[in-house]
């Protein structure tokens, strides 16, 4: 099972729980994005965006509407929600969590390769 972002060791969040997390983001004034990908490799930071980032929302119901639309169109992908904080000094993602997983998840394992002088090279495959 892919674990990345917040809450990923927990069982999948219910819609009510997602709404509460989204409300937390909105109340802090963060812009919320919905992203999806079929390649959840940890090195793949650039997921596809579902629509535009959502600014100036007052209520999380609209974001859940987008998440559901994305789930409907891409049921067999990973979907995550990320919240971007634009305050000076932060200017980065403050919270990110997965809201949808495909029915069969890919497995990754760490591979070690020995190179010259007994150095180790690592790769996640």
């Amino acid at each position: 099972m892919i674990t990345q972002g917040t809450f990923s060791f927990l069982p999948a969040l219910s819609n009510e729980q997602i709404l509460k997390q989204l409300k937390y983001c909105i109340d802090h004034g963060w812009a919320v994005n919905v992203e999806y990908t079929d390649d959840p490799h940890p090195r793949n930071t650039y997921w596809e965006m579902w629509g535009l980032p959502m600014f100036d929302l007052r209520d999380p119901a609209g974001i859940l509407m987008e998440i559901n639309a994305c789930r409907k169109t891409h049921p067999e992908t990973y979907i995550r929600v990320s919240a971007f904080d634009n305050t000076k000094g932060w200017e980065s993602i403050r919270l990110s969590f997965i809201v949808n997983r495909p029915s069969v998840e890919r497995q990754y394992r760490l591979e070690r390769t020995e190179v010259a002088s007994r150095q180790q090279r690592y790769a996640i495959r």
Partner: protein
């Protein structure tokens, strides 16, 4: 082991619930600050009562689907449609029907795009911003332009209809516009008509009410009439009503703004020491020099 459920009470206290929601304060404010508009106020009281009773019923675990609260405000210009929409959001918020209680006020430009594929995201963005509150669409009939079959307004209407049906708990849509054009709009969009539960018609104000409104507006800006100016203003209202393009309270506000200009001009010409009294007073001559009296 599950905890025993709390027993459902046999009765509930209406008065306590009423006070807890603070709804009376908003309704009283509506009564004192908005002059006239009796049918509108009655309708709003009805809606408020229904929501209050619904809340009590929920306490007794009597389930009922939440009512549709989409509304349509029709009336001539300046009859207070926008003002009431603002209040409506407040009322619905206090009764916990909407979660946030803000008003997003839009017109055709904010909903309809300029090229293919532009409208849907634009409309959806507005809807998302309005969720948890009230979406106020002013002059809604412009959304539908029958003379241009390639107009994107129809697409916007379809998205709105879908959201009005599926996200009833998340937002309340209020359409506003002039009566005759709204009627035409509904004729060509029967789906819209049936999804709107409350059609509220805003009547024109009586002259007496307009005078009252004028005085309230002045008081808000720390001005006052002399008694002579008040009777002249009453006459002004009578005359202005006969003229074309009379926009009820909006015309009154404009007339008062012009009176303030004239008062300022008069004071500047006069020069010298000005008392507090002279700064706040609108004299009869400030109103009489309006072209309405020509």
């Amino acid at each position: 082991m599950s905890e025993p459920a709390a027993p459902v009470p046999e009765s509930v206290d209406l008065d306590a619930e009423r006070q807890g929601s603070g709804i009376d304060a908003v309704l009283d404010q509506l009564d004192t600050e908005l002059v006239g508009l009796v049918p509108v106020k009655t309708r709003i009281r009805e809606i408020a009562s229904l929501l209050l009773i619904d809340r009590l019923r929920r306490k007794l675990e009597l389930s009922a689907a939440s009512p549709t609260l989409h509304m349509c405000f029709t009336g001539n210009p300046g009859t207070g449609k926008t003002t009431v929409a603002q209040r409506m959001a407040d009322i619905l918020h206090r009764l916990e029907y909407v979660r946030v209680g803000h008003v997003v006020s839009v017109t055709r430009d904010d909903l309809v795009g300029q090229y293919i594929g532009h409208t849907a995201p634009k409309t959806k963005e507005v809807i998302k911003k309005a969720m948890g509150g009230v979406l106020f669409i002013d002059e809604a009939y412009y959304l539908y332009r029958p003379e241009n079959e390639r107009d994107y307004g129809q697409e916007s209407i379809e998205i709105l209809l879908q959201v009005m049906e599926n996200h009833r708990d998340d937002l309340v849509v209020i359409l506003a516009g002039y009566k005759d054009r709204m009627d035409k709009f509904f004729q060509s969009n029967p789906g819209m008509r049936s999804r709107i539960a409350h059609h509220i018609d805003f009547p024109d104000y009586e002259s007496q009410e307009l005078l009252h409104i004028g005085k309230l507006m002045l008081a808000e800006q720390n001005y006052q009439f002399t008694s002579e100016a008040e009777s002249v203003f009453a006459e002004y209202i009578e005359r202005r009503r006969q003229q074309p393009h009379f926009a009820n309270a909006r015309s009154i506000r404009n007339a008062l703004d012009r009176a303030r200009f004239r008062q300022a001009g008069r004071l500047c010409q006069q020069g010298g020491q000005l008392s507090r009294q002279s700064l706040v007073t609108i004299e009869a001559q400030d109103i009489r020099s309006s072209r309405v009296f020509d």
